[in-house]
Each structure stands twice: as structure tokens, then as C-alpha cells.
């Protein structure tokens, strides 16, 4: 237990790294996923295929393999970043974007048919329909699944700890080596840090889900 208290600054450091890793990847994945999602519902076949191929490929690939690509393979292809934070953000965003894309697509499909029909009837073009009518409504139903995806992202960011980023799990590994007598306490400390993020977010998702259901 003393080990945990002594190492609190290191925990804080790891917690902050996990948070910035998660938030940065979440923003990039949200943008990328929304673009891919609109590809998947667009009337243009080639874009639809591209979106489908991307989602199918990424969903069947383990995140660890994505990390291996950006950390070990990319240097062989000419990308040599100065630290391990950047490849971790890229790997997490690329992976999460596929799930964001699916959530947004199902959100778009949940918007009433009449909405798109009405907007076509008043002469809006396809991009206008999507941007002004459908997406704003889709985002609302999409928020609970999106929160769930970002909870998963928080947990997934622990994989970065296995690839040389000193986030929470990385700190846990480091402290396990430093305090072999206190492994259980050290790892429980790490677990608590993760739960501090994931449990409130889960409650929020449940709350929003109930709100949205009532509003419909």
C-alpha cells in the first residue's frame, strides 16, 4: 500500500497520458469515422465499397496488430516518429474510426424516412440533406453507443502501454518491476484509475440513452 502512496506522482503522470491519448484519438476517430460513415451511406458506389472494406478489414484485425504495424512495420516503410506517443494515437484512431463509422451508420438508418424525403421534397441536395437534416438527428441517437465506443477506447489505450508509452498500464508494468512485493496493491491502483474514467462514462451513457428514448 505504501508503494502506491509513494508513487502517486507517477500514477498521476500515467493517468494524464491515458487521458490525452484517449481524448486525442477520440477526436480524430470521430472525424475519420463520420467521414467513413457518410461514405457508407452515400449514393456513390465506389465510396460505399471503400467504407465497407475499411470497416470489415479493421473490425477483423486485433488492435495489437494495428499497433505492431505503426510501431514496428512503419519504420521499415519510412515513417520514423521521434517518440511512441504519435504512433499510438494513430493506431488507436484508425482502429476506433471503424467502430465510430458503424455507430454513425446505424444512427443515420434510425432517422425516420420522412425526414430525408421531406428535405428532398423542398429541394435540398444530398450533401445538404445529410448535413442539415439527417446527421444532426442521427448524432443524438448515436451518443450512447459513441460513449460506449469511447469507454472501449479508454480501455484499449492500455495496449499503448505494451508499446512503450508510459500511460497507466505502462506505469503499472514499471511499478510492478520496482515493487515486486506489492504487485497486487500496485495493480489495484491502476485498476482504480481506469474505473474512475470508465464507470462515470458508463453511467452517463445509460442516462443519455434513457433521455433520448423518452424524447422520441
Amino acid at each position: 500500500m505504501d508503494a502506491v502512496i509513494d508513487e502517486l506522482p507517477l500514477y498521476w503522470e500515467g493517468f494524464r497520458t491515458t487521458l490525452s491519448l484517449t481524448l486525442l484519438s477520440a477526436v480524430i476517430a470521430l472525424v475519420l469515422g463520420t467521414i467513413l460513415g457518410s461514405f457508407r451511406v452515400s449514393p456513390v458506389p465506389t465510396l460505399r465499397w471503400f467504407g465497407t472494406a475499411y470497416v470489415e478489414l479493421v473490425r477483423n484485425t486485433p488492435l495489437t496488430l494495428v499497433f505492431i504495424f505503426f510501431v514496428f512495420v512503419a519504420p521499415q516503410l519510412g515513417w520514423t516518429p521521434s517518440d511512441f506517443f504519435a504512433p499510438a494515437v494513430v493506431a488507436l484512431s484508425v482502429y476506433t474510426a471503424a467502430f465510430v463509422c458503424e455507430a454513425i451508420r446505424s444512427g443515420i438508418n434510425s432517422v425516420g424516412v420522412g425526414q430525408a424525403e421531406a428535405s428532398r421534397a423542398i429541394g435540398l441536395t444530398f450533401p445538404q440533406t445529410l448535413r442539415l437534416i439527417v446527421l444532426p438527428q442521427a448524432f443524438r441517437t448515436v451518443i450512447p453507443p459513441l460513449i460506449n465506443i469511447f469507454i472501449a477506447l479508454t480501455k484499449n489505450s492500455s495496449v499503448a502501454g505494451g508499446f512503450f508509452v508510459a500511460e497507466l498500464f505502462g506505469v503499472g508494468k514499471q511499478l510492478t518491476n520496482a515493487h515486486p512485493g506489492d504487485v497486487i496493491a500496485v495493480l489495484l491502483g491502476v485498476a482504480v484509475c481506469y474505473l474512475v474514467i470508465t464507470i462515470p462514462a458508463g453511467l452517463l451513457a445509460g442516462y443519455v440513452e434513457r433521455k433520448v428514448v423518452f424524447a422520441r
Binding site: L47, L65, Q76
Partner: protein
């Protein structure tokens, strides 16, 4: 093609769609070309680099390479996934039943435990298994997968039972079945059937998560890729990555197809039969749970 977003196209729209299609195709081709050139610039297409799979250097035979990947690597991955899946399904069933128990003394702690483990990264649980409980690497991986996935399976099964029409349980009690009989002979069979697609897609997640064993040094498929590149040299990383990814995608794709097939079969059954009432809510809940285990 089933979209609510556009009508059947007229001649002008068809022309415009075609134009955009070509633009889209050019965009995709440009991406592919950039990737190809990047690889070419670093000599990744040279036959010599791919030869490692049929005529490897350093006195190894092709059989050695493939054995290390398919037998040692994929074998270890599938073994861990298989053992973990069986134990986790049983564990999930137990937790689901306990969570719906009539006694608060059972329900409350179980709920807490499920919520606790659902919020933790699997790799942390594996690490805990190996270093705190001093399990072997294999059992460490299985431990992490079982703890996490039991919690998820429990939630899926519970969502399935909750989505059943109330009349099912009421009728069962009315004909004099006990709580346990109702659960096991009336509710669970229907819930499992309804949630089969979610269960299978969670199995895909479980299989993917065995790759986290890479981080705690369990010698599964990805570790074997790394071992090979350490032996033959870093310059073979891309080639081994491509083969490793192909193996993973092939296995997972087969399982995912199974999920889609089961889903389709399930919906045709439901459309003609009884269990349609709870579809929107039940479907949402199931989807949410599967989504939370990205």
C-alpha cells in the same frame, strides 16, 4: 443499396452519380498508388524479401517458418481462445443467473463485480494473472479473457432474458414451475437463441483479444511474427505483418460470417413466429453491449 437517403435516380442524377463514382474511384486508386509507391521506395516488393516464405535464408526451411506461424503461433492463439471461451460462457451463465437472483445478498455483490470487471482493460487483467497470481503465460491470458468476457457474456444473456415478453415467465409460474425451472427451461433457451449473434460477435472479440497475450509475452501468433523478424532481421517486418494479418482476418472473417448467418436465420424465424415484440429494445441493448466491447 437499402438507404432512406435517396430515391431511385433519374437520368441526370445517374450521370452525376457516375461522375462522382469516377472521382471516388480515382481517390481510392490514388490512395492505393501512394501506398504502392511508398512500399516500392523501400524495396518491399523485392522477391528476395518474400522468399522468406518459400525459400528462407539462414539455413531454415519454409516448413520451419510456416510451422512457427501456423502450428506454434495460431495454435497457441486458438488454444487460449478456445479454453477461455468455454470457461467464460459457463462463468457468464452463472453470473447472469446470480445477477437476477431474488436475494439481494447475491444480486448486489455480483452486480458490483460485473461492473468492476467490465470497466477494466483485458491486458491489465492478464498482467494481474501473470504477476500477482503467478500463473503461467497461457493461464494468465486465459484468466484475463475469462474474467472480462464472463462479465460481458453475463450482460448479453441478461439482456436476452429481459427482452423476452413478460408473459413467458408469468405463464411458466402459472403452470407451477419453480423459479429455477422457469429460468432454465423457459427463459434461458429463448434468450440464448435470441442473443446468439451477439454471443458469436463477442467470441470474435475474445479471439481478437488473445492477441493481447503479445504484450505479456505469451507466444501466440503475433509473438511468433516478432520472433521470426528477430531471427531473420527487421527488414522482413512488412512481409510477416502481411501474412499475420491475413491469417487473423481469415479466421475472424469466418466467425463474423457465422454471426451474420445466425442473425439472418434468427430474424426470419422471428418474423414468422412469436418473438417480435421486444425486438427494438432487445436489439438495442444487445448491440450496445457488443459495442461496448470494441
Amino acid at each position: 443499396m437499402s438507404s432512406i437517403l435517396y430515391d431511385a435516380a433519374g437520368p441526370r442524377t445517374r450521370r452525376r452519380t457516375l461522375a462522382w463514382s469516377i472521382v471516388g474511384a480515382l481517390f481510392v486508386l490514388a490512395l492505393l498508388f501512394l501506398a504502392y509507391r511508398q512500399l516500392d521506395e523501400h524495396g518491399q516488393w523485392e522477391t528476395e524479401r518474400w522468399q522468406v516464405f518459400w525459400d528462407p535464408p539462414m539455413g531454415q526451411s519454409a516448413e520451419d517458418v510456416w510451422r512457427s506461424l501456423l502450428v506454434t503461433g495460431l495454435g497457441a492463439t486458438l488454444r487460449a481462445a478456445g479454453v477461455a471461451a468455454v470457461i467464460a460462457l459457463v462463468g457468464g451463465l452463472v453470473l447472469a443467473v446470480a445477477r437476477m437472483s431474488g436475494t439481494r445478498l447475491v444480486r448486489v455483490p455480483v452486480t458490483t463485480v460485473v461492473e468492476f470487471f467490465r470497466g477494466l482493460p483485458v491486458v491489465l487483467l492478464m498482467f494481474f494473472g501473470v504477476f500477482a497470481l503467478e500463473l503461467s503465460f497461457f493461464w494468465g491470458v486465459v484468466f484475463g479473457l475469462v474474467i472480462y468476457n464472463s462479465a460481458i457474456f453475463a450482460e448479453i444473456l441478461r439482456a436476452g432474458i429481459m427482452s423476452l415478453p413478460k408473459g413467458q415467465a408469468e405463464a411458466a409460474y402459472a403452470v407451477g414451475l419453480t423459479r429455477w425451472q422457469t429460468l432454465f427451461s423457459i427463459l434461458l433457451p429463448q434468450a440464448v437463441r435470441r442473443m446468439l449473434p451477439s454471443l458469436v460477435s463477442q467470441l470474435v472479440v475474445l479471439l481478437k483479444d488473445t492477441s493481447l497475450g503479445f504484450i505479456i509475452a505469451y507466444s501466440e501468433l503475433l509473438r511468433q511474427l516478432q520472433t521470426n523478424t528477430q531471427f531473420f532481421g527487421q527488414r522482413y517486418w512488412f512481409q510477416f505483418f502481411v501474412v499475420g494479418a491475413a491469417i487473423y482476418i481469415a479466421v475472424n472473417f469466418t466467425l463474423s460470417r457465422l454471426a451474420v448467418y445466425l442473425e439472418r436465420r434468427g430474424t426470419t424465424k422471428a418474423a414468422g413466429g412469436v418473438a417480435k415484440a421486444a425486438e427494438p429494445v432487445g436489439g438495442k441493448v444487445g448491440g450496445g453491449e457488443a459495442g461496448s466491447s470494441v
